[in-house]
């Protein structure tokens, strides 16, 4: 799967680097001074690179934990996010990462311990409840067999009961979670879309059915589950597509034990949208009824309101208002 690994000089001898290189013995190893020499350089084609991304192993030096954007949150106090990895295994056409980064290569910051110190620095201060989101710049679980992210962070989450964590994912890589007792302060949040939309836009991601099976297994094991219907996509006949979808999802999982459900429509900052459209000029999603309002590209207001209202009223048939969080 990964046949080229770039290694920053600073992590050449890091134990996690050695583990990953052992896993990919056939990979071409190329050393570099800083990951940015490769990741941030000009003249890169995200679309070509996405066919076969290289892995870059690097060290993060600062800004381990950042405040989450205002719209992020599921009812908690202060919201933060941290990214042990940049870029995603999947190739979802609506994803902002395509417009944010020049490169499609995966960057893995192997110094996990420093992220933990960053979290501890926040949680050790007395104050309101803090939520920590992973899966903002990558899928939290998709590369688990390579990164060992949850294997390493689970004991930390378990110890830091004062902090709450969300793993955002579309992945079915849940064996690390199933091999341990569920963590009371951890929510596994699955992004879900109707099957036809997932097939058209969520390339390389597990099918809806597989994601639902993963949710069922985790619920059965006692893990808290979040559902993220975000982004909701406008298509002709969305009413039938989405009502069938919600019906199917909520008939297969235990809605009563859900931790949270959030809903948001397709939206991208204008600069990212322009970048992505340049990479995928032939993508029908971007030829849809979109408009730019104050630097954010989203569906024309009237359509967006209709779409949100429809989905919201459907979802509320299955869950209580207390666990519903619209994304704005």
């Amino acid at each position: 799967m990964i046949d080229t690994i770039y290694i920053e000089d600073s992590v050449r001898d890091h134990a996690r680097t050695r583990e990953i290189c052992n896993r990919y013995k056939e990979a071409n190893i190329i050393y570099c001074q800083q990951y940015t020499e490769i990741f941030n350089r000009k003249a890169q084609n995200f679309r070509i690179q996405k066919q076969n991304p290289a892995l870059i192993l690097a060290r993060k030096f600062k800004n381990f934990v950042l405040e989450a954007p205002a719209s992020y949150g599921i009812g908690g106090g202060k919201n933060y996010y941290f990214s042990h990895m940049l870029n995603c295994l999947y190739d979802c056409r609506y994803c902002f990462l395509q417009g944010m980064y020049r490169s499609a290569y995966y960057v893995l910051f192997v110094n996990y311990e420093d992220f933990q110190d960053g979290i501890t620095a926040i949680t050790s201060k007395p104050g309101e409840e803090a939520w920590f989101f992973t899966g903002y710049d990558c899928d939290s679980l998709a590369l688990e067999p390579v990164t060992g992210f949850m294997e390493f962070f689970s004991p930390f989450f378990k110890k830091n009961t004062g902090a709450k964590f969300e793993l955002r994912t579309k992945s079915t890589q849940i064996s690390t979670l199933l091999s341990q007792s569920p963590l009371d302060n951890c929510v596994v949040a699955f992004s879900l879309s109707p099957d036809s939309i997932a097939r058209a836009l969520e390339h390389r991601a597990p099918t809806l059915e597989k994601r639902i099976n993963a949710i069922r297994k985790l619920q059965h094991a006692g893990w808290k589950i979040g559902l993220r219907f975000d982004p909701v996509i406008y298509i002709d006949g969305y009413q039938e597509v989405y009502s069938d979808f919600f019906k199917a999802v909520f008939s297969k999982i235990d809605a009563q034990s859900l931790h949270s459900v959030s809903l948001g429509t397709f939206r991208l900052p204008k600069t990212y949208f322009k970048n992505i459209k340049k990479i995928f000029p032939d993508e029908l999603l971007f030829a849809g009824p979109l408009e730019n309002i104050s630097g954010m590209v989203s569906y024309e207001k009237e359509l967006e309101t209709q779409l949100l209202k429809f989905c919201e009223s459907n979802i509320r048939d299955y869950i209580s208002d207390k666990i519903y969080f619209p994304c704005t």
Binding site: D3, T4, Y6, N28, I30, Y31, C32, Q33, E37, I38, R41, K42, A43, Q44, N45, R47, I48, Q49, Q51, N52, A54, S196, I197, A200, L201, I233, Y234, I235, D236, P281, D282, L284, L285, A287, G288, P289
Partner: protein, 273 residues
């Protein structure tokens, strides 16, 4: 289309013969070409190479993929070994990383994988090979110049080892160089095919929109022209038709054309496939 840059005529000769490239008179560059390959003989050294890349790029209407083919020295590798280059260090110490994606494209290449190595570009021939990498005199300048005109995935260097600790640079002659390059024609063929394949994939799939007739019939301001192209592109994508300007009826003014297009697009079903 692919642009190949060789420093020496003896490096280019086997390629010219194999691909039946014909000389083409172009000012200041020694250009040979057929329908899919442009080959330029740049002369030795970085400045000559960068200058040849610049001139060839200026001569082309559409950007092509780029490939630098030439000889290099290496302390350990045997003469005649061919390698793609995955890291180039320039005389100034700066590093460049040609993406190695091209190694893995296409069945032929994955079956006959071509290994890659690091390379240092030097301004004078290197005779002691202090690092475990290849040494040449052009790759840095080639790469820096070519990525001004093309995305880095489509800019590659392929080097054939011509000298090493057992056979120093003084032993190299033109006939030998041609033989070394000729022996690697199968690898070169695979790299060329892979680059051409990648180049096709990287090119926009939207058909070119011709607005000549429309702007001859009506006056469109600069902003209106931009809007017109965007609407026609969108209509083309949503209807899967190339010549969408033919769909527009005869109307009295440019603003009527734009309004008609906006309404037409609104009527179309919103779909993803």
């Amino acid at each position: 289309m692919i642009n190949i840059v060789c420093a020496l005529k003896c490096e280019a000769r086997p390629l010219i013969d194999h691909y039946g490239l014909q000389p083409r008179p172009v000012d200041n560059i020694k250009l040979y070409q057929n329908t899919k390959i442009n080959l330029v003989v740049s002369g030795v050294g970085g400045k000559a190479c960068a200058s040849a890349v610049k001139r060839l790029a200026e001569f082309q209407a559409q950007p092509s993929a780029w490939l630098n083919i030439g000889i290099a020295g290496h302390g350990k590798l045997a003469m005649g070994t061919g390698r793609l280059i995955h890291k180039i260090t320039g005389p100034d110490g700066l590093n460049w990383y040609p993406p190695s994606l091209v190694l893995n494209i296409g069945n032929k290449l994955s079956k006959n994988k071509i290994d890659s190595i690091s390379l240092i570009t030097v301004d004078q021939p290197e005779k002691s090979y202090p690092e475990n990498c290849a040494y040449d005199m052009e790759a840095t300048y080639f790469y820096q110049a070519a990525i001004n005109h093309q995305t880095s995935e489509l800019v590659q260097c392929y080097k054939i080892i011509s000298d090493n600790n057992c056979s120093p640079t003084d032993n190299i002659n033109a006939k030998q160089v041609s033989i070394l390059i000729e022996s690697k024609l199968p690898d070169i063929y695979n790299i060329i095919e892979a680059l051409i394949c990648l180049h096709k994939q990287s090119t926009s799939k939207l058909p070119a929109i011709d607005i000549t007739d429309m702007i001859n019939n009506h006056h469109f301001s600069h902003y209106q022209k931009l809007r017109l192209v965007k609407l026609l592109e969108r209509l083309s994508l949503l209807t899967s038709q190339d010549k969408v300007s033919d769909l527009v009826p005869k109307l009295k003014s440019s603003s009527q054309v734009l309004t008609w297009l906006e309404n037409k697009i609104k009527e179309l079903p919103v779909k993803l496939t």
